[in-house]
Point group: C2
Chain length 317, copies 2
């Protein structure tokens, strides 16, 4: 029998996505089905984005790492990041909780309050949910977003586009090494603005190289990252010195936005930069060729990185 542990999460999802994509053709309401950061649907008016993500105790977090309110904020933020990566704004959230009966009720209150507060801060509302008994705490959040302007997918990058990254890299990954989870940044305004000029966009949750790989495969292009250009978080520079850029390129959990921007649109991008509410750095470019990411050192030589990313079911060595 082929078990999940044999197939792995990514492979299972890729297989299901292909199947759903094939069978989803012909429904004009579905602008974009599975396989991107969120699904886009148009039941009538403007496109809506639909996405869902689960945080499971012992898998995605340990209770001593985060307060319950911070968990709620995180559950919202990781979904908001997917919506932002398509140029959307979070609009409506549903919260499905599993919890053991021994959990203090105040803790679950705090999780929901954290979701509610994070949603409001992002201009969204928590409009419903569900609670089930479960052996461990699990927080599933489904998010509906609206697209105020352009809808940007992973699939539009073209050779010659430059790659722009919000914020800094590596800080969250360093936190995980030290047994804590950093807050997920909300790049919603930045996402809407970048969507005006981006040919493709993704949020960097599994590590820059791994997530850029998704853009490459969806767009049918290659990409190059210049290690020397990476906006490495100061704490990472301090802790890892010369190894910091390599760590930052592969570490996950940063939830920054990565956008490919065609050269012709860079003069539109320039005046937007001070309105993003965060740093924006050019970290590389899209190139022709097979869908792969090359990481270059300061002298332009290709660098090998440890394999990054996270698979729930992959067997650890």
């Amino acid at each position: 029998v082929l078990r999940l542990a044999d197939v792995g999460e990514q492979a299972w999802i890729a297989r299901l996505t292909r199947r759903l994509a094939r069978s989803g053709r012909g429904d004009r309401r579905v602008l974009l089905g599975p396989g991107d950061d969120a699904a886009a649907v148009r039941p009538g008016g403007r496109p809506l984005l639909l996405t869902v993500d689960t945080l499971v105790e012992g898998v995605h977090f340990r209770r001593r790492w985060l307060s319950p309110a911070a968990l709620g904020r995180r559950a919202f933020a990781v979904n908001a990041s997917d919506v932002a990566a398509m140029g959307g704004r979070p609009a409506f959230a549903l919260l499905a909780l599993e919890a053991p009966g021994s959990l203090p009720a105040a803790d679950l209150d705090a999780v929901a309050a954290g979701v509610d507060a994070a949603a409001r801060r992002a201009g969204a509302r928590l409009v419903g949910g569900n609670l089930s008994a479960g052996a461990r705490l699990a927080i599933t959040l489904a998010l509906v977003g609206v697209v105020p302007g352009r809808l940007v997918t992973r699939a539009g990058a073209r050779p010659g586009d430059r790659l722009w990254l919000t914020g800094t890299l590596g800080g969250a990954g360093l936190g995980v090494r030290r047994g804590r989870l950093a807050a997920v940044p909300l790049r919603i305004a930045a996402g809407v603005l970048l969507a005006r000029v981006a040919s493709a966009m993704i949020d960097v949750s599994d590590g820059l190289v791994q997530d850029l790989g998704h853009v490459c495969r969806a767009s049918g292009v290659g990409a190059e990252i210049e290690l020397a250009r990476l906006p490495v978080a100061p704490a990472v520079r301090r802790a890892l010195k010369a190894g910091a850029p390599r760590f930052a390129a592969a570490a996950g959990e940063d939830y920054e936005l990565l956008a490919a921007v065609p050269p012709a649109r860079e003069r539109v991008l320039a005046p937007l930069r001070h309105r993003l509410g965060c740093r924006l750095t050019c970290v590389g470019r899209i190139v022709a060729g097979r869908p792969a990411v090359r990481v270059l050192d300061a002298r332009g030589r290709a660098v090998r990185l440890p394999r990054g990313g996270f698979d729930h079911f992959a067997r650890r060595a």
Copy 2:
């Protein structure tokens, strides 16, 4: 410390719902927040319904009770039932799965295929999802519905309205006693048609008396059920003889629709009945008074029923 087991699922949800309802005022996009079968939002065009529900192994099902495909169909159907209970049609589904690595991948395939098939049969699409590691199988489905006609909530029932029920009662509850879960009926066409005339509507998942109680509280009315009128499932009549109607009034899992219809609209209801695709039976009426459900025997005397409904965290006697 007040624990979940002390508060109970219903009380915790009621408390959160009140809090969210208070804080949700002032957002004109939210037509209906938490507290009904689904949330209704209008980001632009027609109202959308948003709902979410989770099936947890060992809580809502045991794997030997249902095939994986039947589990997927059930996850879709229980959410579709909430959408139907408001006069909506399912449109878009998101599937969030938790599963142990030891689960055969084919089983998870079958769950997703079951969701997909059920969605298509109902005119909806599975547009996205997520997979996480988890100690036990848990299936969370978030559903977006559209409202083609009237949106019907739990809150509109008025004294004098008669109560109409689709299908039959008790069959699913009898199945649970025998260690199996009946298929959840899809009452989508019936829901849209009943919404034309109903003052209030709900799906009967926790038992007729318990769910009618929700309508009474939301509408500020009382209700009377006549045991002799209940459309008891034939298998229940055979198994429980004279006790069958009382069992049917309290047993859960039937997922039929219960609609309150004002007398003035009964002449509109009559010609719709043969288009519902199922039986429709008058089982009682809405009365003035405190929000409570009275169950009457054939002579009009009040009958006591065992307390029905299911609470994930209530301590069993």
